[in-house]
């Protein structure tokens, strides 16, 4: 690296006082480190740049040492963490790019725009890799729907996701939504995008080639979202108005940018490209230079802006949406401009690639920032803290819950089943997903409501399967176990569809890591994710960390969310989640134990979040995945459904309600030594509900044995309509399946009826 030879102009207009440093979220020692890197005091622009790049959102200062422990290599992983998105090899020259990202803080303040721009950002992360976005999944957390604030937030978030994805024309094919009062003031909005590409067209966010032009394209830069990355890296305090830090999205421009970008890549006009996302121009320029070991020199006076009088500081840190920074081949600049013009987009050359290793920002003739790229991007101070479990939570795990496991009569068991089906965390999500276009692009073979979404892959026989899962309650009670469960459940959901899970992306939603109890949760959860990923052979392809999910009423449940992507060799072998037809045999794979800790049953029926979450045997989880993939390939299953929240009774209800041709009757008998609550509603892991042609049952049994799994035949599927009759352990529940269906389907609509006249 060359030394700094030109000192930036003297900036007397803003003095860098300790107060200014603190406002930028930097500690005294971090500031001293910056002075050390520069060999002088920073300018205000430089301070802003460091503040954004060294925020948790961009710099991972509290999480990086932990994330380094995750497995990031695998035979099918083409691109791991550190790029705009991860990429796996799906065969025949096809790749699948995918990533999840949070937009929690913006959505807490302005749910519609917060969620919409969350979708926009993750789409750009995927199409900058040269991949066409083919699907979005989302993972949402809200407070209780009894609260008007939570209803307002959900309404806005769902419309924001829908309006953005629908307009761009990327189907929203799956996701999960969970409600708990702990998320009341700090909802979680995690969006995952999947894209497909020819691997020989893979593009990376690099600034190679000295002298190559650096171009800003897409929307003009405004004052919105300044310091969004820093905002996302602090607690949500009450009283202060954070709205100026929320960006506004324009999906129409995004669609144009998507088509133009893919055309530029297809015509091989680019060297590298990156979304101007969090920390805008600053992070895209610095990260592209860092990946290439080059430098970048830009003149902000050449940046297209949409308001007058913007300072260099504002232009560097604006998070205006739908913008890209690209490095073009110099002789092709005119062609680049012409392609963009055809899509009615702005393009401006704002600088060039250098070999001096510096991120230099000019404003006309004046140099306002000059920072060595490598320490800016890679030397973000990291902290390893001492995590200590909150003794109150440890105490919760030891609570004796046996008195709550009794269901004295069949009537009581029936009431509990109906109450759980009415629980927003379990009920039908149709109110949400009907607002999303799930079938545009005509790839969706299995959409919302399935255990995993299944999409066809280009013009091949193959399919892509994807699921997104997390369980904050489990992680709260036992972080390592809960995180392992999240990975295994995502894998099981993908495998239930018949696909082999290949890799994950993760979104780590936690509270303020400066607290020892939150840091403990974070470190334990990351360890649990790593263990499960190793056991399943599904490496981490990238992800996002969202800390400081905390309000004055406390932190959220630690909520790692796992996005799992798998590949199915022949899409014709995909397996649906719900029952199919009359006389199919119902089978249960896996064992039910006396496990009600952390369950939906305890939370909904007894208002308790306590106990030890279910145990998870990682070796067994891996064998179960292998079994499901092998069984699907051999065409043994008519349906496969993961048994999770709400336990066996809920899994049986969901598979019956969603059956082909309408809700179907079933007759199930299953002996159990467990308490009635554990037998019906316990959430023991590694269980899957299958249905099959009677002639295939023996083959399924043999396959189970070969994989060291226990199985039993527990009932049969009946005709459409009729009674749902399940005798499980000591209790029998017997009522018309349409009664179950009505409760299941009405739960969300009836709670959302008051939303601003926005219901039919």
């Amino acid at each position: 690296m060359t030394t700094v030879t030109q000192s930036p102009a003297d900036h007397t207009r803003t003095r860098i006082t300790p107060a200014v440093v603190a406002e930028h979220g930097l500690s005294v020692s971090e500031f001293d480190q910056i002075v050390g890197i520069l060999g002088r005091e920073p300018t205000i622009e430089e301070l802003g740049i460091f503040s954004a790049m060294w925020s948790e959102h961009c710099g991972y200062k509290n999480s990086r040492p932990l994330l380094k422990t995750l497995p990031v290599e695998g035979p099918r992983l083409v691109q791991g963490p550190g790029e705009n998105a991860g990429v796996i090899d799906a065969g025949d020259g096809w790749g699948v790019a995918f990533k999840v990202e949070s937009h929690n803080h913006p959505s807490a303040v302005e749910p519609y725009q917060g969620a919409a721009t969350g979708v926009g950002g993750i789409l750009r992360d995927v199409f900058t890799m040269g991949a066409r976005p083919v699907a979005v999944l989302d993972s949402l957390r809200f407070g209780s729907l009894d609260s008007p604030r939570s209803r307002f937030l959900m309404d806005g978030v769902v419309r924001g996701i829908g309006d953005y994805g629908n307009c761009v024309g990327v189907p929203t094919v799956g996701g999960e939504t969970v409600f708990d009062p702990v998320y009341e003031k700090n909802p979680l909005v995690n969006a995952m995008c999947i894209g497909v590409l020819r691997l020989d067209r893979l593009v990376r966010g690099r600034a190679d080639g000295v002298g190559n032009p650096v171009m800003a394209v897409g929307a003009r830069t405004g004052r919105d979202g300044i310091h969004g990355a820093t905002f996302a890296s602090a607690d949500l305090d009450e009283g202060s108005d954070r709205r100026p830090q929320v960006q506004v999205g324009d999906p129409f421009t995004e669609k144009l940018l998507l088509e133009a970008t893919l055309e530029l890549i297809d015509r091989d006009l680019l060297v590298g490209i990156q979304d101007m996302g969090a920390a805008g121009l600053t992070s895209s320029a610095a990260e592209m230079a860092a990946r290439s070991g080059s430098g970048i020199d830009i003149d902000v006076d050449r940046l297209p802006v949409r308001e007058s009088g913007m300072t260099a500081y504002e232009m560097l840190l604006s998070e205006s949406q739908e913008r890209m920074l690209l490095v073009a081949r110099p002789e092709r600049v005119d062609e680049v401009t012409a392609v963009l013009g055809r899509w009615e987009l702005q393009a401006a050359v704002i600088g060039h690639v250098t070999d001096d290793g510096l991120f230099r920002v000019r404003r006309g003739a004046e140099v306002v920032a000059e920072i060595p790229v490598e320490p800016l991007v890679d030397s973000c101070p990291t902290y390893v803290r001492d995590g200590v479990e909150d003794p109150a939570i440890a105490e919760l795990r030891t609570n004796d819950l046996s008195a709550l496991a009794h269901l004295e009569t069949d009537d009581e068991a029936t009431e509990v089943l109906l109450a759980l089906l009415d629980s927003p965390s379990i009920a039908s999500r149709a109110w949400i997903y009907e607002q999303y276009d799930a079938s545009v692009q005509t790839n969706t073979a299995a959409g919302p409501g399935s255990d995993a979404a299944v999409l066809r892959l280009g013009d091949t026989e193959r399919g892509i399967a994807a699921a997104i899962d997390g369980n904050g309650r489990y992680v709260y009670l036992a972080p390592r176990t809960g995180a392992r469960i999240a990975v295994c459940e995502a894998a099981r959901n993908v495998a239930c569809s018949g696909a082999r899970p290949v890799a994950i992306t993760n979104c780590l939603n936690f509270g303020n890591p400066l607290g020892a109890a939150v840091y403990y949760q974070l470190s334990e959860a990351v360890a649990g994710i790593g263990e499960a990923c190793r056991a399943l052979g599904t490496p981490v392809s990238g992800g996002n960390v969202s800390l400081y999910n905390e309000t004055p009423s406390g932190p959220i449940y630690p909520t790692p969310v796992i996005g799992m992507v798998g590949v199915i060799e022949s899409i014709d072998q995909r397996v649906p989640s719900a029952f199919r037809g009359q006389d199919d045999v119902i089978l249960l794979v896996g064992e039910t134990r006396e496990e009600i800790g952390g369950s939906e049953y305890l939370a909904v029926i007894h208002d308790r979040v306590a106990g030890t979450p279910p145990a998870i045997d990682l070796d067994e989880a891996a064998r179960l995945v292998e079994f499901l993939v092998a069984g699907a390939a051999a065409n043994l299953f008519r349906s496969a459904h993961d048994c999770s929240d709400g336990g066996m009774a809920i899994a049986l209800a969901e598979a019956a309600i969603g059956a082909d041709g309408g809700a179907r009757s079933i007759a199930v008998e299953l002996e159990s030594r467990c308490s009635p609550a554990a037998a019906l509603f316990g959430e023991s892991q590694n269980r899957v509900l299958l249905s099959a042609d009677p002639a295939r049952v023996d083959a399924i049994g043999d396959l189970c044995v070969a994989h060291g799994l226990t199985w039993q035949r527990i009932g049969t599927v009946g005709p459409v309509g009729g009674n749902w009759r399940c005798s499980i352990g000591e209790r029998t529940i017997d009522l018309p399946v349409d009664d179950l269906r009505r409760v299941f389907e009405r739960a969300l609509p009836r709670r959302m009826e008051d939303m601003a006249g926005l219901n039919a």
Partner: protein, 235 residues
Amino acid sequence: MMRVGIVRFPGSNCDADCARAVREGLGQEALFLWHKTHSLEGADVVLLPGGFSYGDHLRAGAIARFSPIMQEVVDFARAGGPVIGICNGFQILCEAHLLPGALIRNRGIRFRHRDVHLRVERTDTVFTRACCGGQVLRMPIAHGEGQFVADVETLAELEADGRVVFRYVDESGCAAASANPNGSQNDIAGICNGAGNVVGLMPHPERAVSDLLGCKDGLPLFRSLLAAVPEAVAS
């Protein structure tokens, strides 16, 4: 070989789906027509696909109708050429006055994506010749502004002339309030012009052309185009 020209406006997002349905579902040729050109490039059929042309700014379809190519589309339609508008394409046809009425915000305000059932009311249009009268078809809708409205006289005229091509019905083919997803007057899902060569509909037949997508009920509509331009198919 029949050539189906699919117009791409900025913001069209069902263009590729329509092309795939024409090529794979029908085995015919699909070509994209850029909105800024003035040539239909010898297309036998013009299809305006779904999406959000110009981001639905102002009103759905309101800006696209002024795209240069729309002059050629209007001339082609007036000369009797088959013109199909699906979803946003239907909205554009109404804005361009090739079809009467308007498509306004869904009665329930929200965007809706779900499967609906349609009853084919007329089988002598370019898009329904391969259907049987009263045939019930299942396919998805995906729109926020699909509520068909027209003034009293226009509506009466449409009904009197038998220009309602598709109606939302229940699975058994009967009218039902719950089967109408957006509040359209008279359960109207699609209409045609007087000559039956311009057809617009809100549902997406191009998304219902294979078992993989869960349904093939859209195929008869595309097959109808073959009957509309027999000389092109034969050549």
